[in-house]
C-alpha cells in the first residue's frame, strides 16, 4: 500500500472522493493529503464550487421555433 498520494493523483481522485466511491485506504490517503496540502484543499473547494455553480443552472433558452411548436402543441392538448 502506498504511504501517500501526490497532488497530481489527488486531482484525479476528487470525483471519486465526492461520490464516496474511493476504496477506504485511498480515501484515507486522499484526506491525509488534503489535510497538509493547501493547494489541494483549494482544488477540492474549487471542484465543490464548480458543482454548486452547475447546480444553480435552472432554465435555459429553448430555440424559438421549438418553443413555438411546443406551445402550439400544448394549446391543442389543452383543448382535449
Amino acid at each position: 500500500m502506498a504511504e501517500h498520494v501526490t497532488c497530481q493523483e489527488v486531482v484525479e481522485l476528487v470525483t471519486g472522493y465526492l461520490e464516496h466511491a474511493l476504496p477506504a485506504d485511498e480515501a484515507e490517503l486522499f484526506e491525509q493529503h488534503i489535510n497538509f496540502c493547501d493547494g489541494c484543499e483549494w482544488y477540492l473547494d474549487q471542484m465543490r464550487t464548480t458543482v454548486a455553480a452547475v447546480g444553480r443552472i435552472q432554465e435555459e433558452d429553448v430555440p424559438p421555433e421549438t418553443r413555438d411548436k411546443l406551445l402550439t402543441a400544448f394549446r391543442e392538448w389543452k383543448r382535449r
Binding site: E3, H4, A27, E28, Q32, N35, F36, C37, D38
Partner: protein, 173 residues
C-alpha cells in the same frame, strides 16, 4: 475510549465543516453518527495518527458506540469533546514546524549524496505550517530510507507530540 481530534480554529471539522459542541468547563454534548465506511462516522485518532491529522486546535475526545480503526484514524458512532488540549497553541505549533524543518534539512543534507532539490522545498513550506512540514520531513526521510524511514519519522513526530503535549499518562495536561 479516549482519543484526539483536531478541528479548525472555529471548532468545525476539517472535512465536513460540522460544528462541534465545544467543551466549556464541562464536556461538550454527545454527537451521534452511524458508522458507514467512507460515508459517515466520527473521525478521531490515537497519538500514532496525530501527525497525519494535524490541525489548528486539538481536543481530547471520548468515543463510544461502534468504534473501528481505519488506517491512521478511528471512526466512532458516538463521541463528545472532553476538553481542549491547551498546550497545542501557536507557539507549540511553530516549535513542531521548526522541529520538522530541522529534521527535514538533516535528512536532505546530512548524508551523502545530498539532496539539495529536496532541501530547497523546506523553508518555503514553513508558512503552510506543521501539517505540511511533518509530511515534508517524512517524505525526505522516505527518499533516503524507504517506507520504513517514512513511518519511523512519523513515529518520531508522534513521540514529540506525546511528550510536549503531556499525553503520556493518557490525559492531556
Amino acid at each position: 475510549m479516549i482519543a484526539y481530534k483536531f478541528l479548525r480554529a472555529d471548532g468545525s471539522s476539517v472535512f465536513t465543516g460540522f460544528r462541534w459542541p465545544l467543551p466549556n468547563g464541562a464536556p461538550g454534548a454527545w454527537v451521534d453518527a452511524p458508522v458507514e465506511p467512507c460515508r459517515s462516522g466520527i473521525h478521531a485518532c490515537a497519538p500514532a495518527g496525530m501527525p497525519y491529522w494535524i490541525g489548528r486546535s486539538l481536543y481530547e475526545i471520548e468515543l463510544a458506540g461502534d468504534i473501528v480503526e481505519e488506517g491512521m484514524k478511528l471512526v466512532a458512532s458516538r463521541a463528545r469533546l472532553l476538553r481542549p488540549v491547551a498546550a497545542w497553541n501557536d507557539s507549540l505549533r511553530d516549535e513542531y514546524t521548526r522541529m520538522c524543518a530541522d529534521r527535514a534539512h538533516e535528512h536532505a543534507l546530512g548524508a551523502s549524496p545530498q539532496l539539495p532539490e529536496w532541501d530547497a522545498v523546506i523553508e518555503p513550506s514553513l508558512p503552510e505550517g506543521p501539517a505540511l512540514l511533518g509530511f515534508v520531513a517524512a517524505r525526505i526521510a522516505e527518499e533516503r530510507g524507504g517506507v520504513d524511514a517514512y513511518r519511523a519519522e512519523r513515529d518520531l513526530q508522534t513521540a514529540w507530540l506525546v511528550e510536549r503535549l503531556g499525553l503520556q499518562d493518557g490525559a492531556a495536561s
